[in-house]
């Protein structure tokens, strides 16, 4: 604590910043803060969604109870868990790049390319090789495909600072196109008329936890989240990424090898997205239909931000969304709405989150919740009142 009497001779420059409240009280305040900032946007969005439903002439209570029914009740929670696997892997992949302030928005293309490749090569492989070997190889192939697809945008950004939002998006569209060509062409199932790949036999796909429908990729996703969290928060690589994201000029100044970091984070993210594709195809579907695009990344992005780019905090959020999505399939069907309605809910969460962030930031800096103009007006009016007393 600074001593008041010695302060008067020191210039403000050398005076220390104000000491904050006692440590224990601060911890509780901080924890509460985090909870508020994370839960409130979701609640607000659900509320706004309810209003929207009413405007569209649907009953929000039925809708949300259907979500519960379809997402959790009885054995539905297992379906939710299964859906969480690719979602979580992609989300973790996004955390890695977003931390470095690199916007890899090409996850759709990366995902589908990985999916197409392994659904094409898979049937041939599982026929001739032992199951475990085939599965591992396929995971590697999918991961490599996802990573490779980030390479061009990565190099363009590393060398020429080309905006990666555009390049990854363009590559995404191209990737989706190539995936479709592959599925309709060399990987087409010759025995059926619909454009899709051959279906993998169930006993050759990912094994499930005994007694449930939950396949082991779900556990892999959880493990990945934990591993990535550890790397990002405790290792030198993670710190380097954080610096790159916080202040790229300082990163260069202190001697970080920035181009290498950029490429590495892109590759890691692409790898995880590719593995998400493997988890989905090898665990759930077993085949890929042409023109299929589940767009998992689009729907999981807001939760990546909600979790404040923390891989560990992602887990509860992704689980929440998996439930919402699985239950939402039932609820939107019952309410006669397109499933894209969930996109609206997700966008609402993102919007409310940004607003809450803003309010939270102002409070942290000691300012009030009011905008400066409003606050000033109130202050002037109160002062005028006092002067006239």
């Amino acid at each position: 604590m600074t001593d008041v009497t010695t302060e008067t001779t020191l210039s403000p420059e050398t005076r220390a910043p104000v000491q904050r409240a006692a440590p224990r009280r601060r911890f509780v305040a901080d924890a509460l803060d985090v909870v508020v900032r994370s839960i409130v946007p979701v609640l607000l969005a659900l509320g706004a969604g309810a209003i929207l439903l009413l405007a569209l002439g649907r009953d929000p209570i039925t809708f949300y109870s259907n979500v519960w029914k379809g997402g959790i009740e009885l054995t539905a929670w297992q379906d939710s868990a299964v859906r969480a696997a690719p979602l979580l892997l992609i989300a973790v992949g996004l955390v890695v790049v977003f931390r470095a302030n690199i916007w890899n928005l090409g996850y759709n293309g990366q995902f589908l390319l990985g999916a197409a490749l392994i659904s094409g090569l898979g049937p041939r492989l599982v026929g001739s090789e032992p199951r475990w070997f085939a599965l591992v190889v396929l995971f590697v192939v999918a991961g490599a495909a996802g990573a490779a697809w980030t390479l061009l945008p990565a190099v363009l950004k590393a060398r020429y600072e080309t905006n990666e939002i555009i390049t990854t998006l363009m590559m995404s569209f191209i990737g989706v196109g190539i995936a479709n060509i592959l599925i309709k062409g060399p990987f087409q199932d010759p025995t059926v008329n619909i454009p899709q790949t051959r279906v993998l036999p169930l006993d050759k796909m990912l094994p499930a936890i005994p007694g449930t429908r939950i396949h082991i990729a779900v556990l892999m996703a959880l493990a990945a989240a934990l591993l990535v969290h550890f790397v990002l928060t405790r290792t030198s690589f993670g710190l380097r990424l954080q610096i790159l994201g916080a202040n790229p000029r300082a990163a260069r100044h202190v001697g970080l090898k920035v181009p290498r970091l950029i490429v590495m984070s892109f590759l890691v993210s692409g790898l995880l997205v590719g593995m998400a594709a493997a988890a989905d195809i090898l665990g759930t579907w077993g085949y890929v239909r042409a023109n299929w695009n589940p767009a998992y990344g689009d729907t999981v992005i807001p939760f990546v931000f909600l979790a404040r780019l923390n891989a560990l905090a992602l887990i509860p959020f992704v689980i929440f969304y998996a439930v919402l999505s699985t239950g939402g399939d039932l609820a939107t069907q019952q309410a006669n709405l397109p499933t894209d309605f969930l996109l609206v809910l997700v966008a609402l969460i993102l919007l409310f989150m940004t607003v809450i962030e803003y309010l939270g930031r102002r409070r942290a800096l000691g300012a009030s919740y009011l905008t400066p103009g409003l606050e000033q007006a109130l202050r002037y009016s109160s002062r005028r009142r006092k002067a006239s007393e």
Binding site: G57, I165, F173, V344, A347, L350, Y358
Partner: protein, 311 residues
């Protein structure tokens, strides 16, 4: 190979290119205005879609094409309002909000379209065109280039006007200062927030108009997700054009051609898989970006919110 150079193909290519290029032109022009002022609008895709849907509704129920265009402008501006309030006024991250607007735009328009029309897709007739006498008689390109709906000519005029506005009006000067060095604008006594807000609203309106053109004239109807990445294409055009309106037109036309190649090929009887052809515009963009990697220009204060005295 000689089939590619037949009259049918070339005419179809040029007219298709123009048809597809107009929405891009409007949207890219809007993005140019925003970027010059220092606002990076990732949400263009969503704004285009909102404009496309509301524009279509306006034309359909208003029984007038102009009503449709006006509605499209309004819809786009409404969508960009979020950008204005959250990013310009409150200083939140432009990229995050842009992504949210795109997602919301896609979702909402899809839902609205289905609740309003179900699985039917009502169509509008073709809009009236204005032919420029003499020029429209030029073989091959005459009819397509010089016989267009009035709004296209207005759009080209708007592009020319923008260049003049940047250089010779107060508004244009304020805009450029807002993008280059907002502190200077603030010190000169002009509100940076107001300047950027107007710029963002203009962008929204123009993107909405682009979307409306797409649904009203281009397709004659609205289908969910119909923009298929054209909003992002417009961003690329704006970036490569480096803020020069003339290049915006050129770029839009070129990318429009890449979008319309599919139909032109069909008309000429050439059979290439639609998947390949659909990828062409994006491949074209990647090629352009790689070739011009060193030369895209962005104003220094882009995507950074301005807060007086921020640390």
């Amino acid at each position: 190979m000689s089939e590619l150079l037949t009259r049918t193909f070339l005419t179809a290519l040029v007219s298709g290119g123009l048809l597809a290029g107009v929405p891009l032109m409007f949207t890219a022009l809007g993005e140019t205005i925003s970027e010059r002022a220092g606002v990076l609008n990732i949400g263009l895709e969503g704004m285009m879609l909102v404009g496309a849907y509301i524009g279509f509704i306006g034309a359909y129920y208003g029984h007038s094409f102009w009503a449709g265009f006006a509605a499209g402008i309004g819809g786009g501006a409404l969508a960009s309002l979020f950008m204005v309030v959250l990013c310009v006024r409150l200083g939140l991250d432009q990229i995050v909000v842009g992504i949210a607007i795109t997602l919301a735009g896609e979702g909402i328009t899809s839902v609205l379209q289905e609740t309003q029309f179900g699985t039917t897709y009502p169509r509008l007739g073709a809009p009236p065109t204005v032919a420029i006498p003499g020029l429209s008689d030029i073989p091959v390109v005459g009819k397509s280039l010089f016989e267009q709906p009035l709004i296209v000519y207005l759009g080209l005029a708007a592009v020319a006007a923008t260049s003049w506005i940047f250089r010779r009006t107060n508004a244009g000067l304020n805009l450029r200062a807002a993008g280059e060095k907002p502190e200077a604008l603030d010190a000169a006594g002009v509100s940076v927030v107001a300047t950027r807000s107007y710029a963002a609203l203009c962008t929204g309106g123009l993107a909405g108009l682009g979307g409306a053109y797409l649904s009203i004239v281009g397709a004659g109807t609205f289908t969910p997700f119909m923009t298929q990445g054209q909003g992002f294409m417009a961003i690329v055009i704006a970036m490569l054009a480096r803020g020069r309106p003339l290049w915006v037109v050129l770029g839009s036309f070129l990318f429009g051609i890449s979008l319309s190649v599919a139909t032109a090929l069909q008309l000429a009887g050439i059979n290439i898989s639609t998947d390949v052809v659909n990828m062409l515009p994006f491949i074209a963009i990647m090629v352009a970006l790689v070739a011009f990697a060193r030369r895209s220009y962005l104003p220094p204060a882009l995507a950074l919110p301005y807060v007086r005295g921020a640390r």
